[in-house]
């Protein structure tokens, strides 16, 4: 096991949790100790070396760090609805506010839910996200302490997006946090969950997040992750969802920062007629690396999945896309499609894309596509011939490419915010935004 994880595991502050949660921690620790940090010898980690991570020491981030509401708003924008703020993985009631929730819903601290409502979590926590071969998710589980718990009873509709802001760092040393999110959406319920990841200070932060989403029959969950970490951060996000009959799930990730940003999504369409949408936008430059892996498993008939990932790469940055779609025996009339398109702004940027279809059922419609290309010289010339300076023309074309992903964001406030974040990464971003 690497020294960095040893430090984290020693720094663990165990506290009383129900038996099933204590058991989860133990199995997380056993799994992580058996697997160790993923190496490039593993097929899923072939292009993503964690050597820069293993070379650093991380201390557990301080959950009690002095953080003002003003600082949170500067990093994540002003609060527009229910917002829970987590500092180094622990919920901070002094910075959080969640009102106007539907009757019977729970939106709050996972630690509190474990103390007060364990029955709501048991059977979901640690089940949706299988630790099988997942070292980082296992580490998160070994250190399970707090996070967000969202529970929606049958037919409950949360009108406003539930925003979870995870702020890491704040000290002078490189620090780690292990955010955990569990969403349990009972049949016919409907909610939007937005996770935002930001760093509080200049020291490197390691964020190792796990999100589990359990959707009952006909439930709908619209899930977003916005990763806007500084360039010295390490970011890992594991998202697992299980969908019952007719459930609709969208998970939309935006990766804008971090030295290494890795996302693993596992979606299981466990009931008939479920619909899953996976959307991802990433922008990298310098020597940064962003890696998106996903497995969509169609287990029952008449399921639909759509996966669209788009990346903009500059400098010597790298992107990895590994998208596997598995159609199990009996899952006939499955309709699955994935695309991964990349815009390379520099000759030194590289993309490794590995779409994979594994089909064990008859009568299915599955496909994949994608492109790796540069800014179209004819389009650039067209824009410049009308008087647009080169940097403006380039920004406009990059934004036009990324915009499709921004427009798939349903909540208007988040969509605008995301548009601004994307534009802010472009040389002529301010002008480009008017295009929206």
């Amino acid at each position: 096991m690497t020294a960095f994880a040893q430090g984290l595991l020693e720094g663990e502050r165990p506290e009383a949790v129900p038996g099933f949660a204590a058991e989860l921690r133990r199995s997380g620790r056993t799994t992580f100790e058996a697997l160790g940090l993923p190496s490039t010898r593993l097929e899923d980690w072939r292009f993503t070396s964690l050597a820069p991570l293993a070379a650093q020491d991380f201390v557990p981030g301080d959950p009690g760090a002095a953080v003002s509401l003003g600082e949170i708003e500067r990093l994540a924008g002003p609060r527009t609805g229910p917002r829970l703020v987590f500092v180094n993985g622990r919920m901070r009631p002094d910075l959080s506010s969640a009102t106007g929730l539907p009757d019977g819903a729970f939106v709050g601290s996972l630690a509190r839910a474990l103390r007060e409502r364990p029955a709501l979590l048991e059977g979901h926590l640690g089940r949706v996200a299988s630790l099988d071969g997942q070292a980082l998710a296992a580490l998160n589980t070994a250190l399970l302490a707090d996070g967000a718990f969202v529970y929606l009873p049958s037919r409950a509709v949360a009108a406003e997006p539930l925003e979870l802001v995870f702020a890491g760092g704040a000290g002078s040393k490189a620090s780690a946090s292990e955010p955990r999110v569990l969403v349990v959406a009972e049949p016919e319920s409907d909610c939007t969950v937005v996770e935002r990841y930001v760093a509080l200070g200049p020291s490197p932060v390691l964020t190792n997040a796990v999100t589990e989403v359990a959707l009952g029959d006909g439930a709908r969950v619209d899930h977003y992750q916005v990763q806007d970490q500084p360039a010295n951060a390490f970011h890992f996000a594991f998202v697992a969802a299980e969908q019952a009959r007719g459930a609709r799930f969208q998970t939309h990730s935006t990766a804008l920062g971090a030295a290494i940003s890795r996302s693993d999504v596992r979606v299981r369409l466990a009931g008939e007629g479920a619909q899953a949408t996976l959307v991802g936008l990433y922008m990298t430059d310098g020597n940064r690396l962003v890696d998106n892996h996903s497995v969509i498993e169609h287990a029952k008939p008449h399921g639909t999945s759509r996966e669209v990932f788009k990346g903009v790469l500059d400098g010597q940055s790298r992107a990895v896309f590994g998208g596997r779609v598995r159609v199990l025996e009996g899952a006939m009339k499955t309709d699955a499609h994935q695309t991964n398109s990349n815009l390379l702004l520099s000759r030194d940027a590289t993309v490794d894309a590995m779409p994979q279809l594994e089909i064990y059922a008859d009568d299915v419609k599955c496909g994949h596509g994608g492109t790796v290309g540069q800014l179209d010289p004819d389009s650039l010339f067209y824009l410049r011939s009308r008087g647009l300076p080169l940097s403006h023309a380039r920004s406009l074309l990059i934004y036009a490419f990324a915009r499709e992903m921004v427009e798939l964001v349903r909540p208007a406030g988040l969509r605008d915010q995301l548009g601004r974040l994307v534009a802010a990464r472009l040389p002529d971003g301010a002008r480009v935004l008017e295009a929206a």
Binding site: R384, R386, H392
Partner: protein
């Protein structure tokens, strides 16, 4: 330079222009002068270098200029990037306008106009003022305002794209509009609308260079001068009647003459 002199110097002056694409020389000593207020047409067989010439003037980097000069209002066009040429008052209407989904038509028009205004030290138009101005120009080319909320040329038919080119010209009000086969692929109604737009923008201070394969457009936009291009040069210049003659005789005889070397010395084209 006094304003008197200025009036007598041509708006566009091209002298001995040579350009090549890869190893192939496409323009072989082309010269042309266009005065303010004039409409010129360049005609010629396919492959004679017409479109290359239009692209070179607008700053397209597919061809490399190896010799010669080109000035607009006395300014060295060849030293400027495409956007500066646009700001100096040059407009190229594309033979094949690109589609750019994700960039709104109306937004693009305003951005282009404001980029040019800014470069000239003029105040930028706000969205409201611009919309009013743009609506007026849309009428000129009978453009359905619904097109304006779409992506730039996105899903436009060939005719709609050409109409959009003329709309852009009408909004940007260039000193010199070079329209590269603006008539290709148009039915007779679309041709009439586009011609009307081009015709409406004629003024004593604005010049137009029509690049075309067919005489048809010239029935609607009657040129002051017609030039025939062959083998990378202008080989013959004349008035409106030259276009009619070409229509009757075709281009074959031009090619024949060119092959015989009849135009080893470029024809004097100064009108």
């Amino acid at each position: 330079m006094s304003s008197q002199d200025h009036e007598h110097s041509p708006l566009l002056r091209v002298e001995g222009l040579h350009a090549r694409i890869g190893d192939r020389e496409i323009l072989k000593g082309l010269s042309l002068r266009i005065n303010a207020g004039e409409v010129h047409a360049i005609m010629g067989p396919n492959g004679s270098g017409k479109s290359t010439f239009a692209g070179v003037l607008a700053g397209r980097d597919h061809a490399e200029v190896t010799a010669g000069t080109a000035t607009l209002d006395g300014k060295d066009l060849l030293a400027m990037p495409p956007e500066e040429r646009a700001n100096a008052g040059l407009f190229l209407g594309f033979q094949y306008p690109v589609e750019i989904p994700g960039v709104g038509n109306l937004y693009f028009l305003r951005t282009a106009l404001n980029a040019q205004r800014k470069s000239r030290g003029e105040e930028e138009l706000d969205a409201v003022d611009f919309l009013e101005f743009a609506k007026d120009r849309m009428k000129l080319v009978e453009m359905d305002p619904a097109f304006m909320s779409r992506g730039l040329n996105e899903g436009f038919s060939g005719g709609e794209k050409k109409r959009n080119e003329v709309l852009q010209m009408a909004v940007l009000e260039p000193k010199l509009a070079i329209l590269d086969e603006i008539d290709s692929g148009l039915d007779i109604d679309a041709l009439r609308v586009i011609s009307k737009g081009v015709q409406a923008l004629r003024s004593p201070t604005r010049s137009t260079l029509l690049v075309t394969h067919y005489q048809r457009l010239l029935e609607y936009v009657v040129p002051d001068f017609v030039h025939v291009m062959a083998g990378g040069q202008i080989v013959l210049s004349g008035g409106r009647e030259l276009a009619l003659e070409l229509e009757k005789k075709g281009y074959a005889w031009i090619d024949e003459e060119a092959k015989r070397g009849a135009w080893a010395v470029p024809a004097q084209v100064s009108p």
